[in-house]
């Protein structure tokens, strides 16, 4: 979706004469929207007022039509400047005054034209190619010397999120975090959306993939079967996790335990603490999770379903990992880059029971992607919101309950 926008300025007796009302009505009637900025209403009836109006339209043609219609009523277009840029001074170093991105849709002005930035993500720089009239985000560590990086704040437009047409829990795009909040309607909304996305994805539609970023508590808490079912039914296309989720999932398959606790019996099993190590060792011996699944060694569970359904998996390692499993990326920057590559085409992100992966994924997601953060600890969705992912809907609940309810809502009958 490429929205076009222009700012217009209006002054005079615009309130009493209803000129402001006429202009705003005209914008809406012609298919545009507006944001009123810097409205100064005259202190008395005889004092003049002024308004700065950001006019938005679904295309530059509609925008042009709207501007032509409102200009005779005194709406003057405010010409903006091109963005400024400087070459990166060295590899991995931005120019001193670099512009740091938000995760909101952003455009930069190059040679008079507003150019949409590719790969919107928070906390990056913007690399421009004026000759090709294109712009993309670039992480600090990935910049090469001489790349042109946007500096200052001129010629940069950040578009606030438009309220989506769907009137579900995502319509508000706000992270209300409360354990008191009834979960069922929220989960029903998520399920409805997943149903729609699966349909769209099957028809080859863009932006219809569902991402799940999860922690091992999914397995500990008993959400393994529900998530396996969701993957098997084609509701999940991308999985972000660490060494632990994969290890405990396969441990459960091989030993019936999760971190040594019998999942069925609910108590520790003799030498159970070794199970995850033996699991990791076994997979390392086989060479890959994929090979372990294909050879039948790992026959059930989340990993098996992901391999069967060809789910894109990015496993990012941490400093406390055992093993790790083959396929776990131990270079954090390489892991970040691999996750970034899978963000494209995501239509819904579920961040379940992992502080680390929830925050890391939240940092990579554009604000336009509906996001749910589920954790028993209210601090996790709060922390996610504090770090800028304000669009995430927070659900304070246990991972297994969430996944089980979600799967049931979608037709799972264990």
């Amino acid at each position: 979706m490429t929205e076009s926008q222009e700012t217009v300025f209006l002054q005079g007796h615009i309130i009493d004469s209803l000129i402001l009302a006429k202009i705003l009505d005209t914008i809406l009637m012609m298919g545009g929207t507006f944001d009123l900025q810097d409205v100064k209403i005259g202190a008395t009836r005889d004092a003049e007022s002024q308004a700065r109006i950001v006019v938005r339209a679904p295309s530059s043609r509609v925008l042009g039509d709207i501007l032509r219609a409102v200009q005779p009523h005194g709406a003057a277009i405010e010409r903006e400047a091109d963005c400024r840029y400087e070459p990166a001074p060295a590899r991995g170093v931005f120019p001193e005054q670099f512009y740091a991105t938000t995760h909101l849709p952003t455009q930069v002005r190059l040679d008079g034209e507003w150019v949409e930035i590719e790969g919107m993500e928070m906390d990056l720089g913007i690399c421009v190619d004026p000759a090709k009239s294109c712009a993309r985000t670039v992480p600090m560590g990935a910049v090469t010397a001489g790349e042109l990086i946007v500096t200052g704040r001129e010629g940069i437009r950040v578009t606030p999120l438009a309220r989506p047409a769907e009137r579900d829990v995502f319509g508000f795009m706000e992270s209300v975090v409360s354990s008191e909040r009834p979960h069922q309607p929220v989960i029903a909304d998520i399920a409805r959306r997943m149903q729609t996305l699966r349909e769209r994805h099957r028809q080859g539609g863009a932006g219809a993939k569902v991402l799940l970023a999860g922690g091992p508590a999914i397995v500990h808490a008993g959400g393994r079967d529900a998530l396996t079912w969701l993957v098997d039914q084609g509701y999940v296309q991308v999985l972000f996790c660490g060494n632990a989720l994969a290890a405990h999932d396969m441990e459960a398959g091989l030993y019936g335990t999760s971190l040594g606790y019998g999942l069925a019996a609910g108590r520790s099993v003799p030498h159970g603490h070794e199970h995850h190590l033996r699991t990791i060792n076994r997979i390392r011996a086989i060479g890959s999770i994929q090979a372990a699944v294909r050879s039948g060694v790992v026959a059930d569970g989340i990993m098996a379903a992901c391999v069967r359904r060809d789910v894109k998996m990015v496993m990012a390692g941490t400093i406390r990992d055992d093993g790790p499993l083959p396929g776990v990326l131990t270079d954090s920057m390489a892991a970040q880059q691999a996750m970034r590559a899978e963000i494209r085409g995501i239509g819904l992100a579920l961040l379940v029971a992992s502080t680390l992966h929830a925050i890391a994924t939240g940092n990579l997601l554009p604000a336009t992607i509906p996001t749910v953060c589920v954790d028993v600890n209210p601090a996790v969705p709060t922390k996610l919101a504090d770090r800028g992912s304000f669009q995430a809907v927070g659900l304070v609940m246990d991972a297994a309950s969430f996944l089980t309810e979600l799967a049931r809502e979608l037709g799972w009958r264990p």
Partner: protein
């Protein structure tokens, strides 16, 4: 005593078409136009007792007869018009010279703004109204409001036949408004209603609006109006105005009547 600026119709004719009334084929009868203009002068000078200031007409500038478009005069300050069409832009220098010669402090607007004088700026004691879209630019009004420290409510003129505000909107000296509502959109009508109460709004019927009933000169309790507007005349008389009907159909060929032929000098 009210004073009015006028310009004799010596060179009045239809040389070009810049409003829907003008047809070059619909030629002006010069002697009839001169007679009609003279009758108007007699009514203004003798019946209404206005002071008449006459300026010299210029050959090749047929519309200089419509002095309402020379500018706006407030006290000893004269704001000179900037015409939209090149055909009338050549009048600007002559009007400016006349104001200077009479000792007015002349004010010139930004060249980029069109503003056609008292044709598009009409005054009630507390509020002024500005017509825009057809001839004047709305952006002129905040500037003029600043110059004269007055509130100017802009009104869009939506019907090309009523191309100046004074063709469809006439403030009367008693605070009433004579007007033709269909020349305005709903926003304009609502803005007028906010400032002028219903009992003070006199609605001119369409057939008389098309005879320039609103293009009347109101001085004290007297109104000079185009002949053939009986219902408007009745409305005025019911409000206690004395009316003087004058036949100005030669000037209507160019899209003007009594008010267009005069400019109020304070």
């Amino acid at each position: 005593m009210s004073r009015l600026l006028v310009c004799p119709p010596d060179y009045f004719r239809i040389d070009y078409e810049i409003n829907p009334w003008m047809r070059r084929t619909n030629a002006v009868d010069p002697s009839r136009a001169a007679d009609q203009w003279q009758v108007l002068m007699d009514v203004l000078a003798h019946d209404v007792a206005a002071g008449i200031e006459q300026m010299r007409p210029v050959k090749g500038l047929p519309d200089m007869v419509f002095t309402a478009n020379a500018g706006v005069v407030i006290g000893r300050r004269a704001l000179v018009s900037r015409f939209r069409y090149p055909e009338r832009q050549r009048e600007e220098a002559h009007f400016e010279r006349w104001f200077r010669e009479q000792g007015y402090e002349v004010i010139i607007l930004d060249k980029s703004l069109n503003f056609e004088g008292a044709g598009d700026l009409l005054r009630f004691p507390d509020t002024w109204f500005g017509g825009y879209r057809q001839r004047s630019d709305i952006q002129a009004f905040p500037k003029i409001g600043d110059i004269f420290q007055r509130v100017i409510i802009p009104l869009e003129l939506i019907d090309a036949r009523f191309y100046h505000l004074d063709t469809c909107f006439c403030p009367l000296s008693g605070g009433e408004l004579l007007y033709f509502p269909s020349a305005f959109d709903s926003y304009g009508k609502a803005a007028i209603a906010q400032r002028i109460s219903e009992d003070r709004r006199l609605v001119v019927p369409e057939e008389e609006a098309l005879r320039f009933a609103c293009n009347a000169v109101s001085i004290g309790k007297q109104v000079v109006i185009q002949a053939g507007c009986p219902r408007t005349t009745q409305l005025l008389e019911a409000c206690g105005y004395r009316t003087y009907a004058v036949q100005l159909d030669e000037f209507m060929k160019s899209g003007g009547a009594a008010k267009c032929l005069t400019l109020a000098l304070d």
